[in-house]
Symmetry: C2
Subunit: 251 residues, 2 copies
């Protein structure tokens, strides 16, 4: 009815995308130019682009421009109207949860505001995710979480910030995934982007604070032990701490 069903077609596909997967082809190239320019405010809201101009400016055909614009339209970054052109929508209409939009804003002038928003979101979501994980996590997840907490500690002790960052991202992503809530799980990549951005932001001056490390182990232990309240409390301490540190850094 709906085309041949290849039940295992996605098996190989899942391995092909080691994290993020971009839109490909020429429309993707166009997106990489327009998206950041709009998301960062370089092209201000209310600005009007003409499809024909974009064709010339980027030396691509109508087809390519239209498809790229369609994608931007799907994110609510722009709206295309006859006789008017392609207008940049007001920020309040943007799909601020779209991973691409988040990435573009993190990379541009909106970075502080985006970090703040995400910080508050983390404070709201991650403790709840930790509590759910303490109840619903699989045995495998608990084991891996415990393992990650250990490797986190080791990397911190050795002041190896790069691998520490990797384990930190994996830790938070795993907690979110283990919560069993698909929406929480999808924030894993976003949190990863925040942690990366934060590390880049203050140029890795400090080594990870021992207190924060201990809290991570506490979260892992609580989740492994099924202590939802404890997991939630420890995770809340982590993320509120991160938010305060962020506010301090940003003034």
């Amino acid at each position: 009815m709906w085309g041949r069903s290849q039940g295992d077609a996605h098996r190989a596909g899942a391995a092909d995308y080691p994290g993020r997967m971009e839109i490909q082809g020429l429309p993707g190239r166009l997106l990489d130019e327009l998206g950041p320019a709009i998301a960062s405010g370089e092209i201000p809201e209310g600005a009007v682009l003409r499809g024909e101009d974009l064709e010339e400016r980027f030396g691509v055909s109508r087809t390519v421009v239209r498809e790229a614009v369609r994608i931007l339209e799907g994110m609510r970054l722009v709206a295309s109207r006859r006789r008017v052109g392609i207008t940049v929508q007001p920020k309040s209409l943007w799909d601020v949860f779209d991973p691409m939009v988040i990435r573009w804003r993190l990379a541009g002038a909106d970075r502080p505001a985006q970090l703040r928003s995400l910080g508050s979101l983390r404070v709201a979501v991650e403790p709840a995710a930790a509590a759910l994980a303490a109840r619903h996590a699989s045995d495998d997840d608990r084991r891996e979480l415990s393992s990650l907490a250990v490797e986190l500690t080791v990397a911190a002790r050795e002041a190896d910030l790069t691998t520490f960052l990797g384990y930190d991202i994996a830790f938070h992503a795993l907690v979110l995934r283990a919560s069993g809530n698909e929406m929480f799980a999808h924030l894993g990549d976003t949190v990863g982007a925040v942690l990366t951005g934060r590390t880049e932001y203050h140029l890795m001056p400090h080594q990870p604070e021992p207190y924060a490390i201990r809290l991570h182990r506490e979260v892992a232990d609580a989740i492994c032990g099924g202590d939802a309240a404890h997991a939630e409390r420890a995770m809340r301490t982590i993320v509120t701490g991160a938010l305060e540190e962020l506010n301090q850094q940003l003034g």
Copy 2:
């Protein structure tokens, strides 16, 4: 540099979209068919669609099919690859925060799971939003919130479920917006969809419970008075109650 800037171009536009704005034109029509079919699982993950088949099936041209597929690709619902076709991506890759995807899933077979996910998200986010609103809300927002709480109470007393639903949606959306966090604010429409879906789900058998109504007034009063802790607590009671009721309804 980036096209003429029409600073007030969005003023009229903002009024044109009274809630949701769809993709328009023939691609939009195609999306309304394919999106729900994929989101509901009617077209299973791993299924392969051919562009040419879609052209025939819907009687539209390549242009239209390609643009619709590009939008679906932007939501990570499908991926288009040469020589293989348009494959439906595994659920774990979908942009589950995309408002369109949420709406499609709420309308289809995935509705219970989607309601559960959103219920947990509400429990995480809305109390935090209420706390932030108590600190950052503008005077206008506080006034309107208070007013909404009153009208909510009246509608509940008169057992007018339809207008009650409207005020309830407006109330929660306002709290989220008044939090000052753009990401929270964008969950307003989603929460509205949940409340609507919930009301439709158990076929409006009960009148709103007086206890829940009182809690809404409590939230409004706490936010107006700047009592963040109280606002957060009352809101948490509301959303956890809603989640429990939901779990009871769904078994």
